[in-house]
């Protein structure tokens, strides 16, 4: 079986109508096999999209997509804990747990381990697999020399983030609010002003991070289109694209065509550069380098 493509949860606070229309178009046009929905960064945002969630899930399912509900990455309040339990208890859809607490509640039924859970080795993945995890999306910083030995054990399907800004950190503090001299409790949802994150520069003006509410992301955009074949060779079964404002239908088509061998890496890279002209691409983490590096050389096979 060839590798499948998944659309990760939207990290950013897009307005509800935009997000609904985004998912409708994904359902109708994009070659994703799996689509993740749900708020993973800030529980304060979730109510905005809640009225549209049902229709979006229906549209995606009708289009033949596997819909996965992604859970909040950092759970601190009682309300967040209750919502995580409710998510784990529903029987309709597969759940991706992004916190150890919800993974505990998902024991005994098929579920996905999200990229916010620290799976650094096969023993950890094996532990979750024995409790019902069918797939794990590995943390963004894992290098190929870790992915290969984990994949070799084939304990559960592996998913790797292959496109978009990478999640690097999560905090109880809202950096968007802080940058606007506001407090998390009265944030005025200023994060909505930056649909791909607020770029953070050094005092020299070098852009190097992006802030999205409680989350800090890479400034660079991960792009593993030239590494897909090697990662597939390790046994990685699913490649995840992080939704950005670029045309995600065209981006998905490019990754699909590359996976199917219809276009070569160089052609795919040229197309992606055109689709995201502002983006600075990076693949450093998977090459065992700093995450912002772009390595031209082929990925080692770590046999």
């Amino acid at each position: 079986m060839t590798a499948r493509l998944s659309l990760g949860p939207v990290f950013f606070h897009w307005d509800a109508a935009t997000l609904r229309d985004f998912y409708f178009r994904i359902a109708d046009e994009a070659p994703f096999d799996i689509v993740h929905v749900g708020e993973v960064v800030c529980s304060k945002r979730a109510p905005f999209f809640a009225p549209h969630l049902g229709e979006v899930i229906e549209r995606l399912k009708s289009a033949g997509k596997t819909v996965v509900l992604s859970s909040l990455a950092l759970v601190t309040s009682e309300r967040e804990r209750r919502e995580a339990r409710e998510l784990a208890a529903q029987e309709e859809l597969l759940v991706e747990g992004n916190d150890v607490g919800i993974l505990a509640a998902l024991e005994g039924k098929p579920h996905v381990v999200g990229p916010f859970v620290n799976v650094y080795n096969a023993a950890t993945l094996g532990y979750f697999a024995r409790r019902g995890a069918i797939r794990a999306c590995l943390p963004a910083e894992l290098p190929a020399r870790s992915i290969a030995p984990i994949a070799k054990e084939a304990l559960a399907e592996l998913e790797v983030i292959a496109w978009g800004r990478l999640p690097l950190a999560i905090s109880a503090r809202c950096f968007h609010a802080r940058a606007h001299r506001l407090h998390k409790d009265g944030c005025q949802f200023v994060c909505a002003r930056d649909p791909e994150g607020m770029v953070v520069r050094t005092l020299e003006g070098e852009p190097f991070l992006a802030v999205n509410g409680l989350q800090t992301l890479s400034y660079t955009w991960c792009n593993l289109v030239c590494e897909l074949g090697t990662l597939r060779g390790f046994g990685v079964g699913v490649f995840r694209l992080v939704p950005m404002r670029a045309d995600m239908v065209a981006v998905a088509e490019t990754f699909r065509a590359t996976l199917d061998g219809r276009i070569a890496g160089a052609e795919a890279m040229a197309r992606l550069e055109k689709l995201a002209p502002e983006a600075v691409f990076a693949n450093g983490f998977v090459h065992g380098r700093d995450g912002r590096a772009f390595v031209e050389a082929a990925l080692g096979t770590y046999e």
């Binding site: 607490g101 690097l168 450093g284």
Partner: protein
Amino acid sequence: MELVCPAGTPAALRTAIEAGADTVYVGFRDETNARNFPGLNFSRDELAAGLAHVRRHGRKLYLAVNTFARAGDEAIWHRAIDDAAALGVDAVILSDIGLLDYAARRHPRLRLHLSVQAAASHADAIRFYHEAFGVRRVVLPRVLTVPDIAALTPQIPVETEVFAFGGMCPMAEGRCSLSSYLTGQSPNTVGACSPASHVSYSEENGETVSRLAGSVINRFPADEPAGYPTLCKGRFVAGGEASYLFEEPTSLNTAAILPELRAAGVAALKIEGRQRGRAYVRSVVGAFRRLLDGEAGAAREADVAELRQMAEGQRETAGAYQRRWR
């Protein structure tokens, strides 16, 4: 409340015991712990000697094996746990689920504590670690307020340990790849955030400029001491304005809220700083010992002042323990 104190070297261990630590926590000299800095930590022989010293004084010793085992190199971490069990430490502090599973199965009598690096921030997560691996104590992540902690402790079947003083991460611990993104070395698997090997300082236009992996983390005028460029404590520009976007270079200090922490059900206070010298250990451990023993009284103000001197840049915060931090 138990006073749990850092010891980066055998000398610091003896100093901590002398200053009144109930417990010292240490690491082996390798990537199995989250303070893997040059010249720090314990060989197996040093740990055996340190443990004997601790025993002679009737105190306890915990060993941190709190990084995540790199796939393919798990044997390094397994050896650390096996040696800890053989040496007879009072507890090992773990965060990796694969390692917790290993320790629980191989060494069922070894007491397990959950490291802050596991960032178990609520009752469901903490209960999981207890039920799955028999974890007896959780070091709480620095994302909870004092009321959060007070609500949490009756819901969980394990002791809670909280950070009382020292450096603090603004990010959920063990879930941060910022340093990795710049340096290529993951604090989670190598054990060092913003490693010295990637730090440089230069003089530019009368200012000292600190860099991590070539990127400017801060600038200091000539009359200001240049701080260490820990990535998340740097000054950056967002929305056209330079600021300490993530966190000021400041130390956590709970001296003023000890009664609240006690009332919240906290079992142990942890002093951060295995990378700090003996003067820091003597001063901070001594001040907290006196605060815990004496509580109110004349000693208190002097101790609070001494702790302020030991804080990074003489600046302190109660951090996430107060809701306004968020």
